[in-house]
């Protein structure tokens, strides 16, 4: 259809000179010129050709009417205004102006575009007053220059169908949490020009998101809402979000600028923090409970207990009992020192000195000194707490008194060790006097067997040994009152001629006190201590057949020890009475070596357990055997006798001569 434009009208064919036409003219001109040249054309003809050529060239370079413009598109952002853009054709080398004309809804009136500048170059903007919806616009663009004008193809436009809104605005993304898990909440606003409030336009939105670094977008359709939640979001990664919109019948808008959000790492909601807190409190409580239960063991491992004092203090029990007579007695160690002022019978500790007549004289003082020394030594080794005041019997010698003597003792034992001191006067060669006092070394559980020292037989003494040899024996009794009633210990001198029952001979040698022991006796003693004593004498055999304890009754004026055999038939055992000693603890003298050392051997067996004498309770026991008092002179000049009390077979000691 043709536009009736009230301007000079130019026929289309005049305006549509194109390049092809110009090119053909140029070719024709060149050909003519060439032929003319060949024919020797004149200058006048050359000029005409040149003129023709220039005209043709002018046509080729575009000096002519403009080319045909094209309407590209018309868009309305809010269905209230709209804009049309066109694309200009080739301008023909001359300044060209463009005009837009439109018709409304089949009317004959031609209107021109009211606004060429608002929307930019080559555009026409229709404002609100000029826009009618549901009206058909017929739009044409005209390009005009000096040479002519060109019309574009007309386009029908209905504003209702060309709506393309702007992008949504204010796209915000917030990271929120739902039960500990993060999600994104995207919210936006409609383009500000779109009138949604009145309902003129209804917009539908579309959202797309992707993780940073991914290729493909994930699309979502919120519909007409303006918020949307994106779940399945990973902690520690960033996300890109875009939104666009479209009217219910129209075109999609452009995507909004990318909004970037980062989900923080280790995103923990409040509920998750509470859970972690409760769990840690539980763990702490359990640890505290465990520590509390093992409090003591931990204390011991970290802070070991301070060891208590080793010093023995008072016996609190005795203090309570008031058994200490006086205050001073309480301060004193009970069995120190055993004084000799008391009665002989009352004395639990008796000191007996056996003097060897002749060469060696040992004074009583010395004995006493020795006694004291013994006592001291023994008391030092005594277990004062036992209450018995018993001393280690095996501490014959001073050297031994100081140490190791205890080793032979049982720790719990109350050693009632006696050191039998026999003084066998060398004068009584014929006398088979043997004074001895045997008292078993009794302990709580066992009766310590004292090493039995076999005294030299009377025969022996008679035969071999000169009379002078004598044995000094220092006997010490360290028996407390409690354990041994006063009368229990008595030393009896044994009659010379009586044969005493089997009993143990216990001798103690004091190295100090027996310097006079002759060396001769050692040999003899050794000979005798081969235990074949039974061959010698019936008395002696009987003496050595069975074991019997002998106790010292007293010392007669002849310096002879009266021995009294302890009844062996005591059946009853007093309380606290030690049990029958094991035979193995007794040791008998095997011999005396050249160094004047008494060799002991163990292995003597007690005859019977029943016959074990219990010295605890002398009064109750039956005396099966009449007290025999035999005194055996022991004639060994020098021989060091085995220690009484008890001698541990393991210990060898030498008595210095």
């Amino acid at each position: 259809m043709f536009l009736h434009i009230p301007t000079k009208e130019v026929k289309p064919y005049e305006l549509s000179l194109n390049t092809s036409h110009g090119t053909s003219l140029l070719k024709l001109a060149c050909l003519c010129l060439y032929r003319k040249k060949q024919r020797g054309a004149k200058m006048k003809e050359m000029g005409l050709l040149l003129l023709f050529f220039s005209v043709a060239c002018g046509k080729v370079t575009g000096l002519g009417p403009p080319g045909k413009p094209t309407l590209t598109n018309c868009r309305s952002p809010e269905k209230e205004t709209f804009t049309c853009w066109w694309k200009p054709g080739p301008d023909g080398g001359l300044p060209t102006t463009y005009a837009l004309y439109y018709l409304k809804d089949n009317s004959e009136t031609v209107y021109e575009c009211p606004d060429y500048h608002t929307a930019g170059r080559n555009s026409c903007f229709f404002n609100k007053n000029e826009t009618s919806v549901w009206v058909n616009y017929n739009i044409t663009v005209v390009a005009t220059n000096k040479m002519g004008r060109t019309f574009s193809d007309p386009v029908d436009v209905d504003v209702a169908y060309i709506v393309q809104p702007h992008t949504p605005e204010n796209v915000t993304v917030n990271v929120m949490e739902d039960e500990g898990w993060p999600f994104l909440r995207v919210s936006w606003e409609s383009p500000h020009k779109a009138d949604i409030r009145s309902g003129w336009i209804t917009l539908v939105y579309e959202l797309r998101s992707k993780m940073e670094g991914e290729e493909e977008w994930e699309e979502h359709f919120p519909g007409q809402q303006k918020t949307f939640n994106i779940f399945s979001v990973r902690s520690g990664s960033s996300y890109l979000v875009q939104v666009r919109c479209r009217p219910d019948h129209g075109f999609w808008s452009e995507w909004s600028p990318t909004t970037k959000t980062k989900v923080p790492k280790f995103f923990l909601g409040r509920s998750l923090w509470i859970l972690i807190l409760v769990f840690s409190i539980l763990v702490v409580l359990i640890l505290a409970w465990i520590i509390y239960m093992n409090c003591h063991s931990l204390k011991h491992s970290i802070l070991p207990p301070v060891p208590g004092p080793k010093i023995k203090g008072f016996d609190h029990q005795r203090l309570k009992n008031g058994s200490y007579k006086d205050g001073l007695g309480a301060l004193m160690i009970p069995e120190y020192p055993p004084s000799s002022s008391s009665n002989d019978d009352d004395l639990l500790v008796e000191y007996l000195e056996v003097f060897v007549t002749g060469e060696q004289d040992i004074s009583m003082e010395e004995g006493k000194e020795i006694q004291d020394h013994y006592c001291k030594s023994e008391s030092s080794t005594c277990d004062s707490d036992s209450g018995h005041g018993s001393c280690d019997s095996h501490t014959l010698l001073i050297d031994k008194c100081k140490e190791t003597s205890k080793d032979e003792l049982n720790s719990n034992c109350e050693d009632a060790s006696e050191i039998i001191e026999l003084e066998i006067s060398q004068n009584n060669q014929d006398e088979k006097t043997l004074s001895y006092d045997g008292r078993p070394d009794t302990c709580n559980g066992r009766v310590k067997t004292w090493p039995s020292v076999f005294t030299p037989l009377p025969q022996y003494t008679l035969s071999a040994i000169p009379q002078k040899s004598s044995l000094e024996i220092v006997k010490q009794h360290c028996l407390s009152d409690t354990l041994f009633p006063p009368g229990s210990m008595s030393s009896n001198l044994v009659n010379q001629n009586e044969s005493f029952g089997p009993s143990y001979w216990e001798f103690s040698l004091n190295s100090k006190q027996l310097p006079q022991i002759h060396s001769q006796s050692s040999k003899h003693l050794q000979a005798y201590s081969d235990i074949n004593i039974s061959k010698k004498d019936n008395e002696i055999t009987t003496l050595f057949k069975s074991t019997q304890y002998v106790e010292v009754k007293n010392v007669n004026n002849k310096d002879m020890v009266l021995l009294q055999p302890v009844e062996s038939g005591s059946q009853s055992h007093a309380e606290g009475c030690p049990h029958v000693h094991q035979g193995k603890d007794y040791s008998k003298v095997k011999g005396v070596n050249s160094d004047k050392m008494l060799l002991l051997e163990s292995g003597v067996n007690v005859m019977g357990q029943e016959t074990a004498t219990c010295f605890c309770d002398k009064s109750e026991t039956n005396h099966k055997h009449p007290p025999m008092q035999t005194v055996l002179p022991v004639q060994e000049e020098q021989k060091p006798f085995a220690a009484n009390g008890y001698v541990d077979t393991a210990t060898m000691f030498s008595v210095p001569m």
Partner: protein, 228 residues
Amino acid sequence: MMTFFKWHFIVQRGAWAVLLWPFLFTKCIPLDCQDCPSISQEKLLDRVIQHAELIYRVSEESCTLFEEMFVPFPLRLQRNQAGYACITKALPIPSSKSEIQQISDQWLLQSVLLLVQSWIEPLVYLQTTLDRYDDAPELLLNKTKWLSGKLLSLEQGVLVLITKVLNEGMVSTSYTEQAIFQYDMQLDMLESIIKDYTLFNCFKKDAHKIETFLKLLKCRQTDKYNCA
């Protein structure tokens, strides 16, 4: 997108059959009855709007179908040629936003009603003319038939709406202006095609108009709609 809309269209067709069954009663029973089932104004307005949206979508599809089938290529861009103006051009209907914002709700509804009622007849005519074409596709015929029926339902709904909004009695306006529509069967094929094509276009436009008016009305009604 198209598949989405088609699915939505099918669902809505079924939904409408369920939703608008009360309207069947309105034809037989006068509206000022007291035992009639009532519906709230908001819900009614929503349903009417949905109806109008559906009609517009179907009319757009029908127009496209017809254009592809029958209209020769050079004529496609020139929609209002040969003096065939839209039949509703003469109606006093606002055509710009500024005009629409100035008129009242009642007038808006009345305009909608006018539009709906004026298109009942031409749609019937379109059904008959399509039968004249030899190779009219079945889909086009069905759509045209569907449009005709839905328009009637829409008319009824708008009538009820007017009654509720205006609190007036039923306004029975059988607005039939035969003079507007010139029913001419003596046209040759090309002219008939052009005429039908014009009809489709005009109907599409008016359907869009109806939809827009109703949406405007909805956002005007109450703030709780929150059209913003």
